[in-house]
């Protein structure tokens, strides 16, 4: 077991972990943050996307030992019903949500893109979301939602 210190959604945690534990399991089972989903467990689907030190990563491929001294944002750290993030508002407005299992990962990928590049081209949006699979045929609306969020940000 090793001790790691890291921040999740602006809260600092010090945990004893097995270094082989996946970040995904630490978030879900230790911290109870169930918004991070497991779809494939091998980095294909992006349902477990979180933002780690400013980069989107598949938390199923990150080991607990790797996040020592890191800053993590999960879906629970983005917006709420009182003040939703523009990306969340746009997803609801456009109808970019169907089953919702890919949605937390999609929102995080989109948020991270807009944080760095507030006026992305269609291609840049596509690339930013390319690690997130949706199976309910929602890509078109998802891309439109990200575009809408970017436009709202301009005003």
């Amino acid at each position: 077991m090793i001790t790691i210190e890291f921040s999740v959604n602006d809260k600092t945690y010090v945990l004893e972990v097995d270094p082989r534990e996946r970040l995904l399991d630490v978030l879900r089972n230790r911290l109870g943050l169930m918004g991070t989903k497991e779809g494939c467990g091998e980095g294909e689907c992006g349902a477990c996307t979180v933002i780690l030190d400013g980069k989107t990563v598949n938390s199923c491929l990150i080991l607990a030992g790797q996040v020592h001294n890191s800053v993590i944002t999960t879906i629970e750290g983005v917006g709420n019903r009182q003040s939703p993030h523009p990306v969340q508002k746009a997803f609801v407005e456009v109808g970019a949500v169907q089953c919702g299992f890919c949605t937390p990962g999609m929102v995080l990928s989109a948020k991270n893109l807009l944080d760095k590049n507030p006026h992305p081209s269609d291609e840049e949006i596509g690339v930013a979301l390319s690690g997130n699979l949706c199976r309910c045929t929602g890509y078109d609306k998802i891309l439109r939602a990200v575009k809408l969020a970017a436009e709202e940000g301009k005003q």
């Binding site: 497991e38 349902a47 709420n80």
Partner: protein, 421 residues
């Protein structure tokens, strides 16, 4: 007309919970002191189980129970026929569950599952439906059918003999489609527990809560009223959650151990355990007269039902009904079959049997057009269903058949490209 609903935009109420990550899918719910269940699945497509040794698994600290076929009160389930075992002692496909472990953690359960020794008598498998349907091949489900042909639907209209006489051009081809997995994004998961009344509560993602309820009650020997199925958020389904997956196994483990039981499939387990789209082999012979009118179709459609019936009867019925496509053909002979094999079982998936035949009938149209020297669009305009058309099953279409208008509208957009084909 404009009302609050018709002509207005309505936001999905459930969207908010989903964009904040608050929505509960079955993997997201837990109970204190719950056990974790893991299924041991057969690596063989056809086998009889001679013995199962769980001694090494039970030695592991934290293992609460290992269940096998003999522990299931009524060992069968299935949407049309109860031909699928909850836990198999006779294996008909790779992935059939043969044992289930309950343990204090998921890690212990997985390690215990690896320690279970299953002694199989390996039987010769059959993978080719056309081979399997021969009368001399032993039936995989003698209790349902004496041969592996689960279902045959013949559709007859007019006279095929007359149709071939009138045919100036004939196209004969074989088309094949593969297995397809739904790959819904949320792998199957379930939480099962007995409530204070001794009723079984099963929380899961399903397309069929009321049906699951009956299946769980039957297998456990409970009354229908003693089983409650709560549908949590469903992370995609597309037909793949119409059959039972882990619901009964988790409930059984909860009953035997008197503990809450949590089960979660990995993606790999998900692929091995739920239904697939039916692969189909489609023999098509279509005749048209010189004026471009279709006059005859003979079609034989063989659907691979795999190891269990699931919805195969309904799926192959739909394939037969849709075999002509949206085209009027006066002389028709269609035979569709659902055939048992040792392949993964097949069931509901988007289109439900109507999707596969598109490949056959539309390809036939293109090939006929080429032979007749008319455009692919033209042959469709000359044959498409209209109000008053009679389908192969004898149904007169009396309203809402706007295919000709649809083709006319899109014609300017693709005619030039099609003409150069």
């Amino acid at each position: 007309m404009k009302t609050d609903v018709v002509g207005s935009r309505v936001l999905r109420e459930d969207s908010w919970g989903k964009v904040f990550g608050q929505t509960k899918f079955p993997a997201d719910v837990n109970l204190p002191n719950q056990l974790y269940g893991v299924v041991v699945r057969s690596p063989h497509p056809h086998a009889r189980i001679l013995s199962i040794n769980s001694e090494e698994a039970m030695k592991l600290a934290g293992v609460a129970a290992v269940l096998t076929a003999k522990d299931v009160p009524h060992n069968s389930h299935g949407v049309l026929f109860r031909d699928q075992p909850v836990i198999a002692d006779y294996v008909r496909m790779v992935g059939d569950p043969v044992a289930v472990v309950g343990a204090e953690t998921m890690e212990i359960a997985r390690e215990a599952a690896e320690r279970i020794r299953v002694d199989y008598e390996i039987l010769p498998p059959i993978f080719d439906p056309e081979e399997a349907m021969k009368p001399e091949v032993p039936s995989l489900h003698p209790e349902l059918q004496p041969t592996n042909v689960l279902y045959h639907l013949p559709i007859r209209r007019g006279s095929l003999e007359e149709g071939w006489v009138k045919s100036d051009v004939v196209v004969e081809q074989v088309y094949k489609t593969p297995h397809v997995d739904h790959a819904f994004l949320q792998p199957e998961a379930v939480l099962a527990y007995l409530d204070e009344r001794g009723h079984m509560v099963v929380q899961t993602a399903t397309q069929y809560a009321h049906y699951d309820r009956g299946e769980i009650a039957h297998a456990l020997g409970f009354r229908y009223s003693q089983v409650q199925v709560k549908t949590l958020a469903v992370g995609g389904a597309f037909g793949g959650r119409e059959d039972i997956s882990l619901q009964i196994i988790a409930a059984l483990l909860a009953l035997k151990t008197q503990r809450a039981v949590k089960m979660e499939n990995t993606r790999e387990e998900s692929f091995y355990s739920h239904s697939k789209r039916h692969p189909m082999t489609m023999y098509y012979k279509t005749g048209a007269a010189r004026d471009g009118k279709l006059v005859a179709l003979q079609a034989k459609i063989i659907g691979d039902a795999g190891a269990y019936a699931s919805w195969s009867v309904n799926v192959l019925r739909k394939s037969a009904v849709h075999a002509t496509g949206p085209y009027a053909i006066p002389n028709v002979e269609i035979d569709s079959f659902a055939v048992f094999t040792n392949n993964p079982f097949t069931g509901a998936m988007r289109g439900f049997g109507a999707a596969q035949t598109v490949l056959a009938y539309e390809s036939q149209m293109d090939l006929l057009a080429k032979k007749l020297g008319i455009s692919p669009l033209e042959i469709r305009l000359r044959n498409c269903f209209q109000v008053g058309s009679i389908t192969a099953t004898g149904q007169e279409l009396t309203s809402s058949v706007p295919l000709d208008q649809c083709l006319a509208k899109i014609a300017p957009y693709f005619r030039s490209e099609v003409e150069t084909l």
